[in-house]
Symmetry: C2
């Protein structure tokens, strides 16, 4: 490809409105162009990366027996009503009426379509297990698209669905997909990624893992144990909470605290710290408007995801006065709640001594509360977020909190969709059974942007050899020099003949522009020739990632380039052979 | 791939509601499944064909310098307002509001998106020409989806857009795309296809060609000259009309015809034939409600596409009495029309003698009308359809009328989109110019269905080797026989090791089911082993298309299969080397 004809433009300045590295660089290097909020066109270099990532995914899905199919983008309402999701999914799903007035939706996921394909097609247990997958455009009407390709409304996704006759079979296959995912991310070039347990959310399943590109700019909060293999999305992370092994300090004492209603104010007034308080956090259930009160140590935060599971409802904010309580003075002793209310004591209170809580009386708090003495019949539950300083529940080491971008997820779905859509297969004993499903997604564009987040540096993009749009950026300097331009044409032709994927900067522009553009575009190998290198019969070869520089005789150039390219591909493929996640900070 | 796990079901009976061969067979062989009217899922075999067709298209687009990109499926109203098509395209385009109330559309074509990509990105003449293309899902809300994949609402399409600084440059590139298209269809396996001149319709361009799979079941009517290279869509076809070299028969004569208002009734009454009448066909312009009267020979039909171009408006039905005319008695002599009305005399009347026309008087017609005498100042125009018996306007031979399915089209667009969207490039002399565009489409799914129409026989599908989902259908009979099943497993493994694309019918079902299924699914080569063939150390190999049968020693099987596969691929590729269309009836 000649750069002079490549559609796209390199821009020097950071575009306004972009803050993420991947967003800025993909715009500046001419890889993407925004068409609407969260909707982008991919320019030729990005589409080349996109197709290469798709091919890696396709190969690994095929290797575990996946059968590629294509589901529709547009589906009729009826299909989504069978599963109940036509109403349960809110504004993220686009709905419209077709010209006949029929309700249609834009697919944001394809569980229903996958069961529809299997329904009446797969009838017998011996046709199972099987996995079908597609790589396709999806639309999800995100409320807050942001970050370039990180959080978009339209995106290319690989989604896969497996069908099994037993939970055991699903679990075996789930493990295979897990391993395939690890290979996929490694082959794409990721080093900093992990798999975490996650909440199953609207998918309605039980076990789920998320694959996370670990980066400070990620939207997801992650908990990692640097010692054992434990890692988790903050939403479902567990930990051994930092304990305060205090003494029982004395008798309960009611103290006037007046307008001090927040933990901070109370701590200042009573000369203590949030770790020696039990705060109350209140909600109302969405389903039936019941009051929910959670007590937890003052320096922790309520994890609403965990709490929702206990009350089996979404949670709404509440005005506690409505329920006859004194806001700012709610405490864990002598609390009188309306019938049907929920009250939970978080495990951060377990063993806590000598702490402060509300007195359930306007303007008063209690001092010297003791969990062992005053809360001895209480059952403690885990409804708090993990916090810096907590320890691993499995190995005891101190946990690390970090952030990540979700680049894939896998779910054990159960029978939610086969049951609601009436799919059954005949078992060997003649009975029928609803197949148990797994589903498995990878965001292609988000993977592309996340690898940029991991690899790019201050000069621009840095592509791994396996997904680089081209392998070589051929950059002859001084194209106005007849010798340079003649040799350049000759070398370019040889590269094409040798099937080297090359971007040829055939422009007659300044050295500065050529070098800056090449660093910005991020191809793995840059080859420079100039009057100076030609005088030595050489080309200057620079590796984008390491910065390593080589001078290679022109006669060996093509063969040496082929070796450099193949060596990096081999290295990545070798690394990908093991499905072990070897994430480290470095 | 083992057939026992292949998602999809072979069905014996013809599905109700399907009449086209491709629709019936793709359903019966387990290739497609309908999700909604005009919306299908592709099962694994169809998706394999789909990807192979896409790859052929991709290779040929890249070979003529095409740069693959990806435009969004969902686009904002603003983009389509710039070109004026937000309002000019009617119900076929899906419109919806996103969660913020913003008007969005589903892309049914991407001229606007392609200009958007180039806008502010391409600035100078030396960046032109260039061509960008994508292969992507489109949605077009067809009023009457039908025929399986032939006329759908959702489909995969390759759409390409080229940009040029001169008409000459566009025309040169247009020719290259034309040739690439011919190679694409040949490589897919088409023999019966042609290119025809066509109407540019809503695309708003000037020159356009359509590629047509020639088949009796096509929706498009085609005109072909079997002698010279002339071929055309009926909509714009021209011809030398069958002449009647009659004599002037005598004086004009007004005759009472009473209730005989149709050509048929008048002919019976006056003992003549439609070829000796001049009928009047009337319309109203949509733009300003003007009357349009067309006179043409009674055995021809008005071509509204041609007529619309003359009056520059869509046409509506009309009640002629409103305009003071006597319906059924309108004639081409002494006609008095309201001011501003249009009247056209079709060239079928040129040289016509001794004919009947309305007398422009209730219940009367005129006899013995003579074009040379009574219409001597008239300018004849071409507003009629070509008819069986007409002759080629270029070589004089008799034309053939047939039908076709449009499998691709190419347009010289002009500056409609660059102008309306304000895209300009700087020319060498410092002036600016709006690039001239071409656009080029191929329907992937429709090509898939059309090749089925061409190749399939009464037993089922027949795939050309270049796009077959698998090359070999391996069909061991009597899998309950231990020897057969052991040898089968061994051969299957060897095929996989040799990278032969094979579908292995590993089921233990009857010979009849196995053979019928293999014929229905249509893979190019069937390999049978059975206790009988194994006794001779042989496999029975049948070529699906020709029916040719070979017995091959097991020791040579793998190498022979590779030769058979490669030979057919080579043959197709050789045939595709010439961009000449070599359509023949046989």
């Amino acid at each position: 490809m000649k750069l002079s004809k490549l559609v796209g433009e390199r821009i020097k300045e950071n575009p306004s409105g972009a803050s993420l590295k991947s967003h800025i660089l993909l715009l500046r290097a001419g890889y993407i162009k925004q068409v609407s909020a969260g909707i982008f066109s991919l320019l030729p270099p990005a589409q080349r990366v996109n197709l290469k990532i798709q091919n890696i995914i396709r190969e690994e899905m095929n290797a575990i027996g996946g059968q590629e199919v294509l589901f529709p983008v547009v589906m009729p309402r009826e299909l989504w009503e069978m599963s109940g999701r036509y109403t349960s999914i809110k504004d993220e799903m686009v709905r419209f009426k077709d010209r006949t007035g029929h309700d249609m939706v834009l697919g944001m996921t394809h569980e229903e379509a996958s069961v529809h394909m299997a329904l009446n097609t797969i009838k017998s247990h011996d046709q199972l297990p099987f996995m079908i997958y597609q790589i396709q455009t999806k639309f999800r009407d995100e409320a807050r698209p942001r970050g370039g390709l990180i959080r978009v409304r339209e995106f290319t996704m690989k989604d896969a669905y497996s069908f099994h006759t037993s939970q055991e079979d699903l679990e075996n296959y789930y493990k295979k997909v897990f391993d395939a995912y690890v290979r996929i991310y490694k082959r794409i070039g990721f080093k900093k990624f992990i798999a975490v347990k996650s909440d199953t959310g609207m998918m309605g399943g039980k076990v789920a893992d998320e694959f996370m590109a670990v980066t400070d700019v990620g939207e997801d909060r992650l908990v990692i144990c640097p010692h054992c293999s434990y890692s988790s999305n903050m939403e479902v992370a567990v930990s051994v909470k930092a304990q305060n092994d205090g003494q029982i300090a004395g008798e309960l004492e009611e103290v006037f605290t007046g307008n001090a209603h927040t933990i901070e104010d109370v701590c200042v007034l009573l000369e203590t710290d949030p770790a020696h308080t039990a705060k109350a956090v209140c909600f109302k259930t969405e389903t039936d408007g019941k009051l929910v009160v959670v007590f937890l140590r003052g320096d922790y935060e309520v994890n609403e995801i965990k709490l929702q599971k206990l009350v089996r409802s979404e949670l709404l904010p509440v005005d506690v006065e409505e329920f006859g309580l004194s806001g700012g003075n709610i405490g864990c002793l002598n609390l009188h709640l309306p019938e049907g209310s929920y009250v939970f004591f978080d495990e951060t209170l377990k063993g806590l001594e000598n702490f402060v809580t509300g007195a359930n009386k306007k303007d008063f708090h209690l001092k010297n509360v003791s969990a062992s003495r005053d809360l001895k019949d209480v059952e403690f539950v885990d409804v708090s977020f993990v916090k810096e300083g907590d320890h691993c529940a499995f190995c005891g080491h101190e946990l690390k909190l970090t952030r990540g971008i979700e680049i894939g997820n896998i779910f054990q779905l159960g029978t939610k969709y086969t049951q609601s859509m009436g799919m059954k297969v005949t078992m060997p004993d003649g009975t029928t059974k609803e197949p148990i499903m797994g589903c498995y997604g990878i965001g292609v564009g988000r993977s592309l942007a996340s690898i940029v987040e991991e690899k790019a540096d201050e000069k621009g993009l840095v592509w791994p050899m396996t997904i680089a749009p081209w392998h070589v950026h051929f950059c002859p300097l001084r194209m106005d020099n007849e010798n340079v331009s003649a040799v350049a044409d000759e070398i370019y032709k040889k590269m094409l003949d040798a099937c080297i994927e090359v971007l040829f900067d055939d422009r007659n522009v300044s050295v500065g522009i050529k070098l800056t553009d090449s660093e910005l575009m991020g191809l793995p190998i840059r080859v420079i020739i100039s009057p100076k290198t030609l005088a030595n019969g050489q080309a200057e070869v620079t590796l984008r990632e390491s910065g390593e520089q080589l001078f290679i005789n022109l006669s060996d150039l093509i063969s040496e380039l082929k070796v450099l390219i193949q060596d990096e591909i081999d290295e990545i493929e070798e690394y990908a052979k093991s499905p072990k996640i070897t994430y480290s900070e470095n």
